[in-house]
Homo-oligomer: 357 residues x 2
């Protein structure tokens, strides 16, 4: 999308041969400005931060030099000195679809506020040990960012020097204020959808067993089966770990059973999409031979062939809620109550009535 940044008054054209334009590589610091303007560093600082106590003439001259040199305060240096930065940090393990959708909602909600947004992926480097949450929070908090939103933390978030909101926390509930989706209810709805289509033999590809959401989704699945009077068959439940490749193995195992399921509820969309591919490669038609439903509603779900039926997490709203809560915490209010968002069924093409035996 094109940003409508109306460039009404252009930047002052800096003539190429300008003697002021410094040679190259080095950043323009407050010292350069002070020297060029013939004032002290502290005066420049006052001008930049709009403090009182500077003569208009001095102020004007300094501003002139700042414009010419294209000086901007270093985020790093200033945040080291003063506690306030006006930056909200989003801490993620990596930028996967879920985090990106969240980011979208967060960015939109933050637009027009005084805050800028910084998203940090702190678990990209190899040997990515667990505990990226604490590390990122500790490395950025207290200095670079005024508050943090942590996406899908898998461990308890410890005490922090800045306000923190957790989105979709996978560990216990004793941490900071948290926002998540109704995993149990959503999984139950998904399974009920399959049951209502006439399926009786329904497989499940589980999520990461160390995560709370995975257990809740499995519970929802089992509850729906039980409510419908369908007995639970352990053979129909395999581990997918929320990952594409492992889900493919799980799907293969399920579909090569002597009596394979006619439908699969995968714990997330990634697994579901992987299951569809696996089914295709085994010569099965989705949804005629096999129905598949996922969980999340990532963008890819609407673009697959067939399009993926799923349960939607309102990621945009979750991001917006997180921002709202965080802003009120930054305003000094106490926020501790967790928020749970509803999950909604999105039926698409990958689910259909059960094949007649």
């Amino acid at each position: 999308m094109i940003t409508p940044s109306a460039e009404v008054s252009g930047i002052p054209e800096q003539s190429p041969g300008s003697a002021l334009s410094q040679s190259t590589t080095n950043r323009v610091t407050i010292n350069d400005v002070a020297q060029a303007a013939g004032v002290s560093v502290s005066t420049v600082s006052k001008v930049v931060n709009a403090r009182y106590g500077v003569a208009p003439s001095t102020m004007e001259r300094v501003l002139q030099v700042i414009a010419e040199l294209g000086y901007e305060t270093s985020l790093v240096a200033s945040s080291l000195r003063s506690s306030r930065t006006n930056i909200i940090g989003i801490l993620v393990a990596e930028f996967e679809p879920f985090a990106l959708e969240l980011l979208n909602g967060i960015s939109a909600t933050l637009r027009g506020t005084q805050y800028d947004l910084m998203a940090y992926a702190g678990n990209l480097a190899p040997g990515g040990r667990a505990g990226w949450e604490h590390r990122s929070l500790s490395r950025l908090g207290g200095t670079l960012i005024d508050g943090a939103i942590i996406v899908t933390p898998t461990v308890e978030i410890p005490h922090s020097s800045v306000p923190v909101i957790a989105i979709d926390p996978h560990a216990g509930t004793s941490g900071p204020a948290a926002i998540d989706v109704d995993n149990f209810g959503g999984a139950k709805t998904a399974t009920e959808h399959l049951i209502s289509l006439g399926h009786r033999r329904i497989g499940h590809i589980k999520g990461r067993s160390d995560l709370k959401s995975a257990h809740l989704r499995e519970s929802g699945y089992r509850q729906a089966l039980q409510d419908a009077g369908i007995s639970y068959d352990p053979q129909l439940v395999h581990d997918g770990d929320y990952q594409r490749d492992l889900a493919a193995i799980a799907a293969t195992d399920l579909l090569t059973l002597p009596q394979p399921p006619t439908a699969i509820f995968a714990a997330n969309d990634l697994s579901a999409l992987s299951a569809i591919e696996t089914a295709k490669s085994l010569g099965l038609n989705v949804p005629n031979d096999l129905s598949v439903i996922g969980f999340d509603d990532i963008p890819e779900a609407a673009q697959s062939k067939p399009t993926l039926s799923t349960v939607r997490q309102p990621m945009h709203e979750m991001g917006a809620t997180a921002v709202t809560l965080l802003l009120s915490m930054l305003a000094g209010e106490e926020v501790t109550q967790p928020a749970q968002m509803p999950a909604s069924l999105i039926p698409r093409e990958s689910t259909a009535t059960a094949p007649q035996p």
Copy 2:
């Protein structure tokens, strides 16, 4: 730290017995560790950075304390001192779909490297002036990040203290190494698609006239017409500015011509979707009465009714290429040649054979 907004009324902050300021758990600094371990700060620093010259026994003790206190080096402080941070910065105006898709590709490409990723939206605050590119780059570069990828800059990127890659730059070509899509070729392909469906009277909704991409897309359109021996009719080309509302006006003008077009190539998907809505409101059926094709392939394109035919920008690949180029720049190689990615036709439901007169 929370600053009560009593500053205005002149009340001195930090009241003497303020137990509140003590309640916020302060960050653990290297000083705390040094003190607790009974060593000097520099020794701790050496341990943290795995430098040689520390006795095993000391090292062990320090590590023990670090673990107990949960200490992590402050990104801000360390990056202020040492130039290397192992962080790549992605600079965007805000997190909109295009940037997010890019981020996805960038994150995936960076996984397993030594670098972490920091994305910064520097144009969220109100009064977001143009020139966020320079400001963000100046505020982060040289200290916080080792290199930067700037997404859709609209102004020239000035000299910088760190390596920079621009993705989809909308201004001139004299800046840093740049990556964009084949706007001309893509537009030509889109128009040829319409021609191959039998359309001869093809309208065009232009993009923002101050942007290079808009001109290239119009050129591609005209080239395709010329190649097919169709004469160019200025009446069929209106300005849409890449925006929804202006595109709607343009579409209305086009469709109420005495001899309206049977197909429209819009300069971006947003305009195309707007044109479809306009056509519907005029009682036209898309694609039977009017074919519409866009440019970009934003996620919404696959979810509209009818789904939108378009030309796809390979955003994932563009992000990956940006990372590759940047990494080689960081490795000391000289990279200046721009990279151009291919655009590919994505035919969907909004285009069909021309209606028989």
